[in-house]
């Protein structure tokens, strides 16, 4: 398998605080990669750098969707990371368009496609056939993902009125509508009950192995991480403590020390 995302020597400092300290890793195409680590280890900061919400202090981030084409994420502004590179993300604290309906939320995921179809609103204002077809296709795609997420019934409800677990799923559906090459999920299992957590595991496997979407996730729930990931990165104080298969990481002495304290080692 080739590397989809290659990060080399990434650092991010906030004033004196070095949140991410010279880390290098790769996310393989068509795999599930997880990033774990204690609170404040710098996991979300890595996501923010990759999606260009932050400009890293140093380092390279390259996306290689096809062998012959490479995109330097450094040169893209945040919205272009989503539009051109199609790296889409969810947030640790869910960010939905609360007053808008569930379906509208998912349609925003297809914003650029629909904008083009409506010729920046000209074809849309005139209600040309071209735009109507594109809108219908977008609705079908959106409803397709909502069905997979079990949200068909809620399509017309305001997003903010959904229960917590459904909000998490909606946030993922919204990304999926944007046809992601790399899907970055920031603690997708946080706050879910055991049943929802199990469903999430199956969902992520389906997305990766049936829909071919490469997944990069941050997670605290070890049962989720160990079961579904192909590759695990362990972060501690901004440094990459260890990486490898779940088996290798589980038995890595540094990881045991960091997670269970000095005595356990």
């Amino acid at each position: 398998m080739s590397n989809l995302l290659t990060v080399t020597d990434l650092s991010m400092a906030f004033g004196g605080l070095v949140a991410v300290d010279h880390i290098s890793f790769a996310v393989k195409l068509g795999s599930i990669t997880a990033m774990i680590g204690p609170n404040g280890a710098g996991k979300t900061t890595v996501f923010n750098c990759v999606t260009r919400f932050y400009t890293p202090t140093s380092g390279q981030m390259v996306l290689t969707p096809e062998p012959e084409s490479a995109l330097d994420l450094h040169t893209l502004s945040p919205y272009k990371v989503a539009k051109k590179a199609r790296v889409l993300r969810t947030f640790q604290n869910i960010r939905l368009f609360g007053q808008m309906s569930v379906l509208e939320n998912v349609l925003i995921g297809q914003h650029n496609l629909l904008m083009r179809a409506s010729s920046c609103s000209v074809a849309g204002l005139l209600n040309l056939k071209r735009y109507r077809t594109a809108e219908k296709d977008a609705m079908d795609l959106a409803m397709g993902w909502l069905e997979i997420m079990g949200l068909t019934e809620d399509a017309n409800r305001p997003a903010a009125s959904l229960p917590y677990g459904a909000q998490r799923r909606l946030e993922i559906a919204r990304c999926l509508a944007g046809r992601p090459r790399l899907l970055c999920l920031d603690e997708p299992a946080a706050g879910l009950n055991p049943k929802e957590s199990l469903d999430l595991k199956n969902l992520l496997k389906t997305l990766c192995y049936q829909h071919g979407i490469t997944i990069f996730l941050i997670e605290h729930d070890m049962s989720v991480v160990m079961e579904i990931s192909d590759h695990i990165l362990v972060l501690d104080y901004g440094r990459l403590l260890a990486q490898g298969t779940p088996e290798a990481v589980r038995t890595h002495p540094d990881v045991i020390r960091a997670y269970l304290g000095e005595d356990a080692a």
Partner: protein, 407 residues
């Protein structure tokens, strides 16, 4: 800070009323009382109009008194005041009724009434334009009136100085405000929302001061008079009645155009993106929405609508002066948008009609307009914090049985 006061007093309604009245008095002070004025060519901040200020604060005070001392049953009634929930059929009926009424109006009304109706229609169109900026995109534009002013002066000056006809000048009255909106918005819309509010406030004040001071071009405080009235294919020049009729028809047509454009934009990807960035611009950006460009487009489209409204205003009045474009006018527009319920065209139209027409209907009411205003604002904020029309309609609706359908 106020701990020297007895706790029983601090917890009482009296303290709350006094406190909130004080807050209102402080917040309103700079807007009403401090205005840039011209002192023999020198610009200075000078206390201008105490009366509206005092009345507005008094209104807030009375509104608060009403809220706190209302008998419990009345209060409950206010709080449970139902939504104006009308079914689609009723809505269609009301709309048809309204359009027929508006078309018949010129036949049954006298000159003064027709003139008022024209003013109301233009104000509604202007408030709708501001709804796009403030209600949809969530940009607090405190200088919206400046684009109205630019549109009005563009037509006024082009027609009086260069003899350009109304219909030729009209596109320019849209393009010039849009260009200005671009220049102001491009750098500022990258920053946080608060900066936008402050900068637009300053921008409007700059425009007004320029209009006052560029005496040789704009006529200064005296304004521009004898602006030629437009004609429509030769119609509207015969006598006063015909002219007023034509102005009314133009204003009505323009309001209808704005209505359809804003309704249509809302259900397009552009309008959805506006609402999305109002809800959460970080999430919108993470999904590939060019937030800066979307904000700029809302700002510019709003400015275009304001510019054309301004041109109609200048054409209707035949006279423009800087006095018509103060911050107070923006505040009234903002009140229409907020009272109407952010983003609801009918709510905004109702609020605009009330705010514009009531003072005209009764002169004595006009004197106490600010009093009434402060009071209503307090009552609405308490009882209907989201405006007259509270329910948001989704831009698309999924209909399971018969497949999907766009609304």
């Amino acid at each position: 800070m106020l701990s020297f006061l007895p706790p029983r007093f601090l917890a009482s309604s009296y303290a709350k009323i006094a406190g909130w009245t004080l807050v209102a008095a402080v917040i309103l002070f700079p807007f009403f009382v401090l205005q840039a004025v011209d002192h023999n060519g020198q610009l200075s901040l000078a206390p201008m109009t105490y009366r509206p200020y005092v009345l507005a604060v008094l209104g807030v005070f009375l509104g608060l008194c009403a809220v706190f001392f209302l008998p419990a049953p009345l209060r409950a009634l206010g709080q449970s005041c139902p939504d104006f929930a009308v079914s689609d059929v009723q809505k269609k009926g009301l709309q048809v009724l309204l359009v027929v009424g508006l078309l018949l109006l010129p036949l049954v009304s006298n000159r003064a009434e027709l003139d008022l109706a024209t003013v109301v229609l233009l104000s509604v169109a202007l408030a709708w334009g501001m709804t796009i900026v403030v209600g949809y995109a969530g940009l607090l534009d405190l200088g919206y009136i400046a684009f109205y002013a630019v549109g009005a002066y563009t037509y006024a000056l082009l027609s009086t100085d260069y003899g350009v006809s109304f219909w030729v000048a009209l596109p320019l009255c849209a393009l010039l405000p849009a260009a200005l909106a671009f220049c102001v918005g491009f750098p500022i819309l990258r920053l946080r929302g608060d900066y936008f509010a402050i900068v637009t406030l300053g921008f409007a004040e700059i425009v007004r001061t320029l209009l006052i001071n560029a005496q040789s071009i704009t006529g200064g405080p005296n304004g521009v008079a004898e602006i030629p009235r437009p004609t429509l294919l030769g119609w509207g020049a015969a006598d006063l009645d015909e002219r007023m009729m034509m102005l009314y028809v133009l204003a009505l047509a323009w309001a209808v155009v704005v209505y359809f454009v804003m309704r249509r934009l809302r259900v397009l990807p552009l309008g959805r993106a506006w609402e999305a960035l109002r809800e959460d611009d970080i999430a919108a950006r993470s999904l590939g929405v060019n937030v800066h460009r979307m904000k700029l487009s809302a700002h510019m489209i709003g400015a275009m609508i304001a510019g054309i409204c301004g041109a109609f205003f200048a054409a209707k009045q035949g006279f423009v002066s800087p006095e018509s474009f103060t911050f107070l006018d923006t505040a009234f527009l903002l009140a229409m948008v907020v009272l109407g319920g952010m983003g609801s065209p009918w709510g905004v139209a109702l609020a605009a009609t009330l705010i514009v027409a009531l003072p005209e209907v009764s002169r004595s009411f006009a004197d106490y307009r600010m009093l009434f205003f402060g009071m209503v604002m307090v009552l609405v904020m308490i009882f209907r914090p989201r405006g007259f029309a509270t329910a948001r309609r989704p831009s698309v609706v999924y209909k399971p049985a018969s497949g999907e359908k766009t609304s």
